[in-house]
C-alpha cells in the first residue's frame, strides 16, 4: 500500500478534503466519481502539477510529495493523450525513455516488449498526428510505461474512444498492467472501467472520499 495523507486544497469555489487514502501496491486502484467531484484535481496534485502544502504520499518508504514532478517517476496518460504530433509512434515512446535516462539497449528491448504486448507493430513508424484514437491510446500507454515508472496514473484514458474501441482498449490495458506488474491509479467516471479494471475502488464526491 502507499498512503496519501492531508490532501487538502481550497480553490475558492471548491475544496478538496482528503485526510487519508490508500493506493494499492499491485493492481488497479480506481478513483471513481461524477464530473466536477475533484478527480482530476487529485490526479494533478499527485503528479505534482499543482501545489498541496502539507500533503504526504508515502510510497515504498519514500515521501513522493516532497519530490518535484520529474523525480516522482510516475507514468502518466491524460484524457487528451497528448502525443507529440510531429513524432512517429516510436519516437514518442523513445522520447520518454530518453527523458528517464534509460540506456539505448534497454530502451530498445523495452520497446520490443511493449510493441508486442500493445500490438503496435503496424503503426510504429507512423506520425502520431495520423494515428487513430485507439492507436494513439496504445502509444500513450507504452510511452508512460517505457521509463519503468513507480506507478502508472491514468486520467479517463478511454473517454475519447468510441464504445467498441473502449472494450478492446480496456482488455489491452488490463493485460499490460498484469504483465508489467505496475501499480496503477485509474481516475474515471465510467462504471464499466471500474468493473473491468478495478481491484480497489474509492469514490469521490464534492472533493471528499466517501468509500
Amino acid at each position: 500500500m502507499s498512503y496519501v495523507e492531508n490532501l487538502h486544497r481550497d480553490y475558492g469555489d471548491f475544496k478538496l478534503d482528503i485526510d487519508s487514502w490508500e493506493i494499492l501496491d499491485e493492481g488497479v486502484t480506481v478513483l471513481w466519481g461524477p464530473s466536477g467531484s475533484g478527480k482530476t484535481s487529485v490526479f494533478r496534485i499527485l503528479l505534482g502539477l499543482e501545489p498541496c502544502p502539507g500533503m504526504k504520499w508515502i510510497f515504498q518508504g519514500v515521501d513522493l510529495a516532497k519530490l518535484k514532478t520529474p523525480q516522482r517517476r510516475l507514468g502518466v496518460v491524460f484524457q487528451t493523450l497528448d502525443l507529440f504530433p510531429h513524432m512517429t509512434a516510436e519516437e514518442n515512446i523513445l522520447f520518454a525513455a530518453r527523458a528517464r535516462d534509460v540506456n539505448p539497449q534497454k530502451a530498445a528491448a523495452r520497446m520490443k516488449e511493449l510493441t508486442e504486448v500493445m500490438q503496435m507493430q503496424g503503426f510504429l513508424q507512423r506520425k502520431a498526428a495520423v494515428l487513430s484514437g485507439g492507436e494513439k491510446q496504445r502509444v500513450a500507454i507504452a510511452r508512460a510505461l517505457v521509463g519503468e515508472p513507480r506507478l502508472l496514473l491514468l486520467d479517463e484514458p478511454f473517454s475519447s474512444l468510441d464504445q467498441e474501441l473502449r472494450e478492446e482498449s480496456r482488455k489491452i490495458v488490463k493485460r499490460v498492467i498484469e504483465i508489467e506488474k505496475i501499480p496503477t491509479l485509474l481516475v474515471t467516471h465510467d462504471q464499466k472501467d471500474v468493473e473491468v479494471l478495478g481491484n480497489k475502488v474509492t469514490t469521490i464526491r464534492q472533493g471528499k472520499l466517501v468509500s
Binding site: F78, D82, A99, R100, G147
Partner: protein, 487 residues
Amino acid sequence: MNLRNSLRLSLVLFLLFPFLFLLTQFRISTLPEGAELLWAFKNSFTQAFFSALCSLLVGFWVALGLLALHERTQRPGRFVLEILCLLPNFLPPIFILLSTLNLIEPFPMGISGIVIVHTLMNFGLVAVLLAGIIENKLGGVAELAYVEGVSRWQFVWRGLVPMLKKDFWLLGLFIFIVCFGSFSVPLIVGGGKGTTVEVLIYEKIRLSSDWGHAVLLAFLQSTFIFALSFVASRGKGVNNTRIANLSLLKSFSGIVVLLGVSAFYLLGYVQGFVSGLSMLSTFYDLQSAILWNFLGSLVLGLSVGVLCYLGLMLIAFCWPKAWFEKFLNGYVAPSTSLACFSLLIISPNEGFYPFVKIPIALTLLSLNSLFRMGWDGELHALQSQVTVAYAMGASPQQIFKEVLFPQLSDRAGLLAGIAAIWASGDFAVSRILAHHDLSIAMMTETLMSGYRLNQAIVLSSLIILSGIVCFVICVGGSRVLRRKFAS
C-alpha cells in the same frame, strides 16, 4: 539561479532597458508645462479615439461583407479578401502614407490626416477579427433569428450589438492603444497642429535636448497604455462555437466597401508609381546610393528577422512560468523615440554601429507585438504536451529541442519574416539612430519630406522587394533549422 531563470530575467531586463537606463541617467527636476502636456495628450487621445471609432465602423461593414463568403466553396474568395484586409496592417506604414498623400490633395495635415491613415491601416484587421467573432460567438443565434423571420436591423440592434458589446469595446480599445502609441504616422502627417505625446517626446529630445521631460512624458504615456492594456487583457467575451447559416447578417456591400477602400490606396500607389517612372532619369545620380541602401535594407530586415526569431524561441524556452507570462501579457513596448534615444546616447553612433542599434531597437519595439500576434496562443496550445513531457521527467532542454522547437520553428519564422518586412520599411527608428540614409525606406522618406512623392513611390517599390527577400529568407531559414533539428 538556473539557466532558464537567468534567461527570463535577461529578457525582462532587455525589454525594460530604455526605462531603466533613462531613469538612471536623467533626473526629472521640473514638471513639463501643463498646457503643452495636456494639448499633446488631448491630440493623442482624440486621434486614437476617432481612429478606433472609424476603424470599428468601416471594419464592421467590411466584416458583414466577409460573412457573405461563409460557405466552404467560397473559402478561397474569402481568403483573398482577408489578405486584402490585412495587407495595410502588415505593410510598413510608409506605403499607406505615400498612397494617401499622393491621392488626397491637399492632404489634411493634423488630427484628421492621422485618423484617415490609421483607419486605412486598421479597418481590415478589425473586419477579419470581427467576422471571426461573429461566426464563432453569434452564428447559432443569427441562424435561429433568420429562421424565425427577424429583420436584419432588428437583429443587429437587439441581438448583435448587446451580445457583442464587450467584444466591440475590447477591439476598439485594442485599436485605440495601437494608435495612441503610433509614432511614424503622426510624425509625417501630424503637422504642427496634430503633435501627439509620442511626437512631443521626439521633439523634446531632438529639438530641445530636454531628456528629463521626455522621460517623464514617456513614463506617463506608458502608464496610460499599460492601464488600458491591462483592461483589454482581462476581458474575453462570450464564446459559443458552431457552424451556422449567416444569411441574416451577410452583406455584399461590405465587399464593395473593402474593394473600394483597397482600390483607393492601391490605385494611389500605382498612379504615383506610373508618374514617378517618367522621372526615372532623376535617379541616375543616385544609382550607387540606391544599391548600397538596398543592401542596407536587406541587412536591417534580416538582422531584425534573426533577432526576433531568437527572441521568440527564447520566450518558448523560458515558458511556462506564471510571472513571466504575466509580464509579457502586461508589458507595453516603450515609446519609440524613447527606446531609440536611449540607444543613441550610448556611444558610438558612427560606422557600422547604426546597423547594430537599429535592429536592437526594432526588435525591442516589435517583440511584444509578435508575442501577441499568436506566439502566446502557440505556446498555450503546446502547454499540455509540455506538461506530459515534464511529468515524464524530460529536462527543459529536451522539451525545447524535441517538443517545442520542431513545432514552433515555422511559426517563429513567419513572425520573424513579418518583423523583417516592418524593418525593411522602417524610417522612423532609423532616422533617430542614423545620421544619414542607410536604407531605401530612409531614402524614400527623404524624398517624401522634399515633396517628391512620385519619386518616393517608385523608390519604395524596392522596399517591397527587400521585404519579400527578407521574408522568404526568414521563413525558409526557419524550415531548414526545423529539419536540421528534427533529424
